[in-house]
Amino acid sequence: MEYKTVLTTCGYCGCGCGLYLEVLDGQLVGAQPCKTDSVSQGGLCIKGWNVHEFVQNSERLTKPLIKKDGQFKEATWDEALDTVASRLKKIKEENGPDRIAFLTSAKCTNEENYLLQKLARAVVGTNNVDHCARL
């Protein structure tokens, strides 16, 4: 058996509590507070204590999906990304970049948010970028 803990930052609210994820043989099995964390100081709320639970839920999406005749069909990454790339390119060429809009995510990392707005601005050519800060 291999057991390890990984120090990270909670994915729920804006407090940003540091916590340890407990990993047993590659599976998440728990979350523990971090005493030296400046925000949580060794405490966690009920969401933090259970933050590992949703991750391995059986309803997680595991494969790209493409809708055909109103039904989702599993697809390969190549199929899915080529579809997205060609449709976005086509709409951009035919209708202009401002006909495309992007929502970045308050749940994703800084790095991912940076890249998606870069994709919108530098690749598609639009400033139609927002996220749910207001919601």
Partner: protein, 527 residues
């Protein structure tokens, strides 16, 4: 937040308005209680009798949407009694005269008529806040989700500036961000009008800088907000949307309208970890990963950039979100390649002055508060020390405006929405967490017990709630937390979605919807 979370503990007075801190931000809630233990005075203003109100030195329940009036009343007393910080006002602010003229009208007696808060309580709040050595204001969506959201925030800034309760330790104006990285999403330019680091897209020099960094031509025309995107989708002006990890089908106002707008699109891509209500409408769904399967950084509500570390491998064939975006970009003819997320943050540091000194090797054990302009900079726990970003702090003369929709004969009650301690946003994660879901499995409408009695509603009974936008069926929860004319519904539950009822009226500047106030009627369900 202008100030850091740790500083809360040493505040001498904490004014909490429009934040149910102990439920929505529990670990900040416990800091507030620590401050209280150390002798801080606690002021709570909230239409609901929230948990923290039981610890408050003074608790007032102002009528929904009357925040500006309440704050102006407090300002009025402080001016009249001369409790303000003359030196701070003279040296660090402007616009005082016009501001004073407006505030003079808001005597505590006038404000009592608007807010329902007793004049003597308004005086007591003014006294505690203005005369404490260090006072800290804490607020959340209860302040911002109004058609006067910007006015509400400016009013709080007026209060902090008037009393010089800003730019020092344990003071400040401190909004609590609801989602783990909403601060970071804003910082990274996830907004229609700014590049990363709040640098305006309409500023030609900024555009030039980013054109150079990204090696391409950029548009200087500000883009659309989410609300505008949906409107444009409905009108056929937006043809395609790419939605990363967001679920506006539950979180947005008036979701019947959201659904129609998303359905009107030619092409919708959703990148998420679950088949959310929004993902169901997509043409292509891309499986990203959760925070436990990726490396990166989050920026919390106090502007602290903290590490996120990969604990397990991606589930199934799902892929790291940053990697999916790079791949897509490359397929669209703009090669994007990074060895790992640390290299992306290095690029951020190059183009974003406030993140200029934030690198992975500096935040391995402890995060850094931005602004952190260079590698030697220790970060900035509190802002506005010697000057405001614009130089002098600007007082705003702000008049009270009522909410867009008020109860009337047909829809006689106020509805307000919010969160509960065990669930998070649209529930896609917490409702799939067995331990959390068993705490609260379904939505409910909190109703004052006397109100319920008048309507013949008993605890746990199914009721229907109607607004001009839609209707939902939901369980009644009789609770003294509510006043007689107001009900509360948490927005986490899609099957009894509060946002079928909420009013799509928006703050003209921030475009934030008025989630916190609308008018509803209630009926018993007779099965």
């Amino acid at each position: 937040m202008t100030n850091s979370i740790a500083e809360i503990e040493n505040s001498k007075c904490i004014f909490i308005i429009g934040s149910n801190t102990s439920e929505a931000h529990p670990l900040i809630g416990s800091r507030i209680l620590k401050a209280k233990e150390k002798g801080a005075k606690l002021i709570v203003a909230d239409p609901r009798k929230i948990q923290l109100s039981f610890y408050a030195d003074i608790f007032v329940r102002h009528q929904l949407g009357t925040d500006v009036a309440l704050i102006n009343g407090i300002l009025n007393v402080i001016l009249k009694e001369g409790w303000y910080d003359r030196k701070f006002v003279e040296e660090r602010t402007e616009g005082f005269k016009e501001f004073r003229k407006v505030v003079e009208k808001y005597t505590p007696e006038n404000v009592e008529k608007i807010t329902g808060v007793r004049a003597q309580d308004i005086r007591k709040i003014a006294d505690l806040y203005a005369r404490s050595k260090s006072s800290s204001i804490i607020y959340a969506m209860g302040i911002t989700q109004h058609i006067t959201g910007v006015d509400n925030v400016k009013s709080l800034c007026n209060l902090a500036m008037l009393c010089g309760q800003i730019g020092r330790e344990s003071t400040g104006v401190n909004p609590l961000r609801g989602q783990n990285n909403v601060q970071g999403a804003c910082d990274m330019g996830g907004l229609p009008n700014v590049y990363p680091g709040n640098q305006p897209v309409s500023d030609g020099q900024m555009a030039e800088k980013f054109e150079k960094a990204w090696g391409t031509k950029l548009s200087t025309k500000p883009g659309m907000t989410l609300t505008e995107m949906l409107k444009a989708a409905m009108a056929g002006e937006v043809k395609a949307m790419f939605i990363l990890g967001e679920n506006p089908m539950v979180s947005d106002v008036d979701i019947q309208h959201v659904e129609k707008s998303l359905e009107a699109l030619d092409f919708l891509v959703v990148q998420d970890i679950f088949m959310s209500e929004t993902a169901r409408l997509a043409d292509v769904v891309l499986p990203g990963v959760s925070f436990a399967e990726k490396d990166g950084t989050f920026t919390n509500t106090e502007r602290k950039v903290k590490r996120v570390r990969k604990a397990i491998e991606p589930i199934g064939s799902s892929r790291q979100d940053w990697d999916i975006i790079c791949d897509l970009s490359t397929r669209m003819g703009y090669p994007m390649r990074y060895d790992d997320p640390s290299k992306i943050l290095e690029e951020v540091a190059q183009v974003t002055p406030s993140y200029g000194g934030i690198y992975y090797d500096r935040i391995e054990t402890e995060g850094l508060h931005w602004p952190c302009p260079n590698r030697a900079h220790p970060g900035t726990p509190y802002l506005h020390k010697d000057r405001f970003s614009r130089g002098l702090g600007l007082f705003h003369a702000i008049e009270y405006l009522p909410p867009e929709e008020l109860p009337d004969k047909e829809y006689p009650y106020f509805l307000t929405t919010g969160r509960i301690y065990v669930h998070y946003h649209t529930g896609t994660m917490t409702r799939r967490s067995p331990s959390l879901n068993k705490e609260v499995e379904e939505g409910f409408a909190e109703i004052n017990p006397r109100q319920a009695k008048e309507l013949g509603i008993i605890q746990g009974e199914r009721i229907k709630v109607f607004s001009r936008r839609g209707e939902i069926e939901i369980k009644a929860d009789l609770s003294e937390r509510m006043e007689r004319n107001t009900i509360f519904i948490p927005f986490h539950f899609v099957e009894s979605a509060a946002n079928r009822l909420t009013n799509p009226a928006f703050d003209p500047i921030a475009q934030i919807p008025e989630f916190k106030v609308c008018a509803v009627k209630i009926e018993k369900v007779n099965h």
